[in-house]
C-alpha cells in the first residue's frame, strides 16, 4: 500500500494519540488528565509521548479517583479549558457515574446555557482481550440513555482521529469509547493534519441489497467477517456515533433491504440494539420482510476471560441471525 506524503499508516490507538497531539498543538486549552497518562503514556499507551511534548501541566497524572477526574474536568470545562480526561477502563466508570450523569449531562440545561461542559471523556471499551474482571464491559447504552451526553465509538483509525478531534471541539460533553480489542488490530492511512468527522453520522462500510447489519466499535470487525462469509448481499453500517443516533442512514438502508440485524457486545436487554430495533420497526414497518434481530451479549455479567468468547457475539452467531432473517 502506498501512503501519500501527508498521511501515515497507523493503528487505532496511534490515531487517538495523533488526534490528541494535533489538537493540543492547535489549542492551548486542551489538557489531558487521568491515571498513568503522563510519563507512562497510559496503560494502553494512548497518551504516549504527550507529556514529553506538552509538559506535565497539560498532561497530568491525577490521583486515583474517577469521580475526581470527571468532577474536576467539569470545572475545568466550565471555566474555559478543554479537558480530555481518560478513564482507564470502562469497568471503572462506576465511581464517575454520578459526575457524568448528575452533573456533566445537566449543567447546560440546568443553568439555561450559562455553563457548558465541553469535555471529552476517553474510555477504552469492551471485551476480547483476555483481561481481568471489570476490564471488558460494554456500558455504552447506560450513557446513551442519559440525556445531555454524546456517545461516540470509532471502529477504524481514520474515524478515531476525525471523531476524537470533533469531540474535543464539540461544545457538549462527549464520552469517547475506544474499542480496545481493535486498538492494534490493523493499520490504515490517516492524514497528518487535524481533521474532523461529523458526530452523529454513521458510515456505510459495504453496500448491499439483501440485509442491513448495524454494528459499532469492535463488533464492526466481527460483522464484516460475517458479511464476508455470507452469500447474501449485506449492507454493513458502522454507527460511529451512538448518541445522537444517525437515524437517516439506518432507515434508508432498511427501506432498501427490508431486513435488519443489529450486533452489540453489551447485554441484550435495553441495549442500543433494542433502540435500533424499535426505531426500524416504528419507522420502516411496511418495508420490513422479517423481524429485526438482535445479536448481543447475554443478560449476564461479562464472564472472566476463559469464557469471554462464549459471551461475545462472533461471526457464527451473526451469520446464524443473517440466515434466519433471510429465510423468514
Amino acid at each position: 500500500m502506498t501512503t501519500a506524503a501527508n498521511e501515515t499508516e497507523m493503528t487505532l490507538v496511534q490515531a487517538v494519540t495523533d488526534a490528541l497531539a494535533c489538537e493540543m498543538r492547535l489549542d492551548d486549552r486542551v489538557i489531558i488528565l487521568g491515571e498513568d497518562v503522563g510519563l507512562n503514556g497510559g496503560v494502553f499507551r494512548a497518551t504516549e509521548g504527550l507529556q514529553a511534548e506538552f509538559g506535565a501541566d497539560r498532561v497530568v497524572d491525577s490521583p486515583l479517583a474517577e469521580s475526581g477526574i470527571i468532577g474536576s474536568s467539569i470545572g475545568l470545562a466550565m471555566n474555559g479549558m478543554r479537558p480530555v480526561p481518560e478513564l482507564q477502563f470502562e469497568g471503572f466508570m462506576g465511581p464517575a457515574y454520578d459526575q457524568l450523569c448528575s452533573h456533566a449531562a445537566r449543567f447546560r440545561t440546568r443553568t439555561r446555557g450559562r455553563f457548558t461542559v465541553p469535555m471529552t471523556v476517553r474510555v477504552p471499551h469492551g471485551g476480547g482481550i483476555h483481561a481481568p474482571e471489570l476490564h471488558s464491559d460494554a456500558p455504552e447504552a447506560i450513557y446513551a440513555h442519559q440525556p445531555g451526553l454524546k456517545v461516540v465509538m470509532p471502529a477504524t483509525p481514520y474515524d478515531a482521529k476525525g471523531l476524537l478531534i470533533a469531540s474535543i471541539r464539540d461544545p457538549d460533553p462527549v464520552i469517547f469509547f475506544e474499542p480496545k480489542r481493535i486498538y492494534r488490530a490493523f493499520r490504515e492511512a490517516v492524514p497528518n493534519e487535524a481533521y474532523t468527522l461529523p458526530i452523529g453520522k454513521a458510515r456505510v462500510v459495504t453496500e448491499g441489497t439483501d440485509l442491513t447489519v448495524v454494528a459499532w466499535g469492535a463488533m464492526v470487525v466481527e460483522a464484516a467477517k460475517a458479511a464476508e462469509q455470507s452469500k447474501a448481499s449485506i449492507e454493513l453500517i458502522d454507527l460511529r456515533t451512538i448518541s445522537p443516533l444517525d437515524e437517516d442512514t439506518i432507515l434508508a438502508s432498511v427501506e432498501k433491504t427490508g431486513r435488519c440485524v443489529v450486533c452489540q457486545e453489551a447485554p441484550l436487554t435495553l441495549g442500543l440494539a433494542s433502540e435500533i430495533s424499535s426505531l426500524v420497526t416504528e419507522r420502516c414497518f411496511l418495508h420490513l420482510e422479517a423481524p429485526v434481530q438482535r445479536v448481543a451479549g447475554f443478560d449476564t455479567i461479562m464472564p472472566y476471560y476463559k469464557l469471554e468468547m462464549e459471551y461475545l457475539p462472533g461471526p457464527d452467531r451473526i451469520n446464524a441471525a443473517i440466515d434466519e432473517t433471510l429465510r423468514y
Binding site: 498513568d36 507512562n40 497524572d61 434481530q293 447475554f298 472472566y304
Partner: protein, 365 residues
C-alpha cells in the same frame, strides 16, 4: 487568647526488626512465638516461589495478567497471624501470604488470574472476600462485614487491605467514616508501596504520611515498617484488640515497596528509577527475617533448602491442580446470576442465542 490549639496529634512509626537486622527486644518480646517462626518462614518461601512462578506462567501464556506480591509479604501475613479463624480478611490483590495463612487455597488465586471465576468460590469457613479489582471499593464491605459481626455480637472483626492509590477514591473515605462514626470492629491497613502503577504516592496525597488519613475520621493512626513482620504484627495485634474490645477502627499505614512491575502488563522501567529499586531490594523483608532467624538459631541453611524444595513441590502441585481442573461448562456464567434463573435467561443459555428467531425456530415456519 484568641488563637489556641484546637487539635494536635502525633503519629508513631513502629519498627522492631530493622533493615540492618537490629531487633528491639522490648517491643518484640512475645509477639510471635519462636516455635511458630519456622512454619512462617516456610510459608514465606512458598509464597515467594508461587509469586515468581505465576509471573512465568503469564509470560508463557498459561495465565492472564498477574500482580506480583513480592516484597509485600509481611503486612497481610501479620494480619493473618493476629486474627482468628472467624475474622474477615477483605483484601485487594497483594495479600496472598495472609490469605493463604488464613485458609484460602492458593489454587483459588491462580484460577482467578487464569480467568476462571470458580477461583472466587472461596471455601465455606474461610472468611475472606475475593480479590477486589475495582480499586478502593472493598473497604466499605469490610465496614459492613464488621458491622454484621457487631450486630450479631460474635466478637469477630474485619481487617481490610488496600493500596496508597486506593486512598484517593471516595469509597475509602466513606468506609473510614462509617467505621469510625459507627464504631465498627474494622482494621484498615494501607499498603503504601510507593506507587499506583506509574504514579508515585506523592500524587495521591500531599500529606506527610498516609497514616494521617485516618485522623480526620477520628481513628487512631499508626505507621509501621511494612517489611518488618514483627512491627506489622505488633500494630495489627493492637488494632485487632481495639476492634474486638468495641473501641472501633484503627488505621495502619504499612510502608513497603512493590519490588516487581505493577502487573505482568506493566513495565516499571518506564517510570521508576533503578536506584530506588536497589534501595528497596536491600530492604527485602524475606532475607531480613531469614538472617535474623539464622542468627538466633531458629533457621539454618539446610532448613532453607528443605523449605525451597518442598515449596517447589507444592507450587508444582498447585499449578497442576489449577491447570488440570476441568474446563468450565460453556454456559457456566449463567449459573450463578440469580437464585432462580428467569425464563428469558434460561432461553439464552439453552439456545446460546439472543435472537428471537434463533430462540423460537418455529417462527421461521
Amino acid at each position: 487568647m484568641p488563637i489556641t490549639t484546637a487539635y494536635e496529634t502525633r503519629i508513631d512509626h513502629v519498627s522492631i526488626l530493622d533493615e540492618h537486622g537490629v531487633f528491639d527486644e522490648t517491643l518484640g518480646q512475645d509477639l510471635i512465638s519462636e516455635d511458630q517462626l519456622p512454619a512462617i518462614m516456610e510459608h514465606l518461601v512458598f509464597c515467594r516461589q508461587l509469586d515468581e512462578i505465576a509471573f512465568k506462567l503469564q509470560r508463557s501464556g498459561r495465565m492472564g495478567t498477574y500482580p506480583q506480591n513480592t516484597g509485600q509479604e509481611m503486612p497481610s501475613l501479620a494480619a493473618a497471624l493476629a486474627i482468628e479463624k472467624a475474622d474477615w480478611l477483605v483484601t485487594c490483590y497483594r495479600e496472598n501470604t495472609g490469605l493463604f495463612w488464613h485458609g484460602l487455597p492458593p489454587e483459588c488465586i491462580l484460577l482467578h488470574w487464569m480467568g476462571d471465576e470458580r477461583g472466587n468460590h472461596i471455601p465455606a469457613g474461610v472468611n475472606a472476600t475475593p480479590i477486589a479489582i475495582p480499586i478502593g471499593t472493598q473497604m466499605l464491605h469490610a465496614a459492613g462485614l464488621g458491622w454484621a459481626e457487631k450486630a450479631k455480637k460474635t466478637g469477630a472483626i474485619a481487617v481490610t487491605f488496600f493500596g496508597d492509590g486506593a486512598t484517593s477514591e471516595g469509597d475509602f473515605h466513606e468506609a473510614a467514616n462509617f467505621a469510625a462514626s459507627l464504631k465498627l470492629p474494622v482494621v484498615f491497613c494501607c499498603q503504601n508501596n510507593g506507587w499506583a502503577i506509574s504514579v508515585p504516592s506523592s500524587v495521591q496525597s500531599a500529606g506527610e504520611t498516609f497514616a494521617q488519613r485516618g485522623i480526620s475520621y477520628g481513628m487512631p493512626c499508626v505507621r509501621a515498617d511494612g517489611n518488618d513482620l514483627f512491627a506489622m504484627t505488633k500494630v495489627m495485634k493492637d488494632a485487632v484488640a481495639r476492634a474486638r474490645a468495641g473501641e472501633g477502627p484503627t488505621f495502619i499505614e504499612a510502608v513497603t515497596y512493590r519490588l516487581r512491575d505493577h502487573t505482568t502488563a506493566d513495565d516499571a522501567r518506564r517510570y521508576r528509577d533503578a536506584g530506588e529499586l536497589e534501595t528497596w531490594e536491600a530492604r527485602d523483608p524475606l532475607p531480613r527475617l531469614r538472617r535474623w532467624m539464622e542468627a538466633k538459631g531458629l533457621w539454618d541453611k539446610s532448613q532453607h533448602e528443605k523449605a525451597m524444595k518442598s515449596g517447589e513441590e507444592r507450587v508444582a502441585e498447585i499449578i497442576s491442580n489449577a491447570e488440570e481442573i476441568a474446563a468450565p461448562d460453556r454456559s457456566e456464567f449463567f449459573d450463578h446470576m440469580y437464585a432462580d434463573l428467569p425464563a428469558s435467561l434460561k432461553r439464552q443459555r439453552d439456545s446460546k442465542r439472543t435472537t428471537s428467531l434463533g430462540q423460537f425456530p418455529e417462527d421461521l415456519a
